[in-house]
Amino acid sequence: MSEKFKVLYYVNQFFGQVGGEDKAGMAPLFCPEKVGPAAGFEGLLKGAGEVVGTVICGDNYFNENKERSLEFILNVIKEQAPQVVVAGPAFNAGRYGMACAELAKAVVDELKIPVVTGMYVENPGVDICKEKAIVIRTSDSAGGMRKALPTMAAIALKLGKGIELGSPEEEGYIPRGMRKTLFVEKRGSQRAVEMLIARLKGEPFQTEMPMPVFDQVNPAPAIKELGKATIALCTSGGIVPKGNPDGIQSASAQKWGKYDVSTREALSAPDFYTTHGGYDPVYANEIPDRVAPLDILKEFEKEGLIGKVYQWFYTTTGTGTAVSKAKEFGTQIGAELKAAEVDGVILTST
């Protein structure tokens, strides 16, 4: 069996048995041994693959030095030339999950090597990499390791041998968001009638085309003292500084931007304009405050009607942006506003 495929394993400082939180700042290193979960992994590959080494990196180091970390790790991968890269599982650990996810994305995009990882479904890393890597569904704590590894190994085995993966349910991974066209036993009309009868009987049924879910959030309590409140201004109308320094897309936005407006009286032209591709930009470009009314908020701040306009102005474009992206933006922006103790938010949309 000289034709074994090669697997490279990635773990954080904890699973790499270097140390706990105190070692989270360690830079990545390559270790030709099989460390932590990598140790038992080879056995699960049933003699078809071998683990050629382990990359260990501190979670904080990775997240704070993403580019440097990726450069190092990608170089190791190039040298070792594995057929499959395995990372984690990260369970519900946010920083570890983000590291696995960013690594997975880079490896798939740049090196075209398949990656298997494992995460709890609510790990923020899932959304980052599930389209690129295979993310198996794990429990939320390391107690699920014994269950996770065989699932990951089974997938690694298929990837290593170039065998097509089955459905997410069969293989235990989180759906990648791919609509796969396939044949089923029953014709469509039959499936429709069965679905109808199940609905009529109040039995469970599964739609073949799930609609995006809109859940409702309980309203946050009102601001008590407006005169002391810090108000943040956000827009999905794509108002950006001249030159669009962060390259916010005109549609299907992949990112948001924040700009310091503490010294500004208004979002005036030509310092600001709209990059939004979803409406006629003429009016917004004449007076950007028509989309995001910083001018009025600043006046109210002066008058003492409100305590303060928050230093940062947040912006993105709303058109064609996937629900999952909008959600991601909201979570990131919300976390920042919460940390900054902002009391209320005005969000304008075009």
Partner: protein, 122 residues
């Protein structure tokens, strides 16, 4: 009842009055329609065709109502969705210019059907 026909089909321009002709792509037509809807015009005809093959057409004609004070939300949602859907298709398809004459003819026939259908003056 005045209707406004937005088109990039030269044959439509020749044959009809109240035509706003744009020398551009179907995408330009949809963008212009969107801007006009935002200004208060309503959609009379749907901005998309009913078949996949017509997505390849170099021509697109949309009928709008006269401008109203209040923006028609329904029209605004439809044009927005239509643009997303159209772009989604054209990401990996290209316009079929080889048969542009035939597309011109079908475009105008579908327009005539739409105009015949809309008898009201709401």
């Amino acid at each position: 009842m005045k209707k406004l026909i937005i088109t990039n089909n030269p044959a439509v321009k020749e044959k009809f009055k109240n035509v706003f002709f744009i020398d551009g792509s179907p995408q330009d037509i949809l963008t212009k329609v969107r801007d006009l809807v935002h200004q208060g015009h309503g959609l009379i005809s749907h901005p998309l065709s009913a078949s996949l093959r017509m997505m390849f057409s170099p021509y697109r004609t949309v009928v709008l109502s006269t401008k109203k004070e209040q923006i028609d939300f329904f029209s605004a949602e439809i044009i927005e969705d239509s643009i997303i859907k159209y772009k989604n298709h054209m990401n990996y398809r290209k316009i079929d210019n080889v048969h542009s004459e035939d597309y011109q003819v079908i475009d105008i026939l579908l327009l005539e059907a739409a105009l015949n259908e809309d008898t009201g003056s709401w």
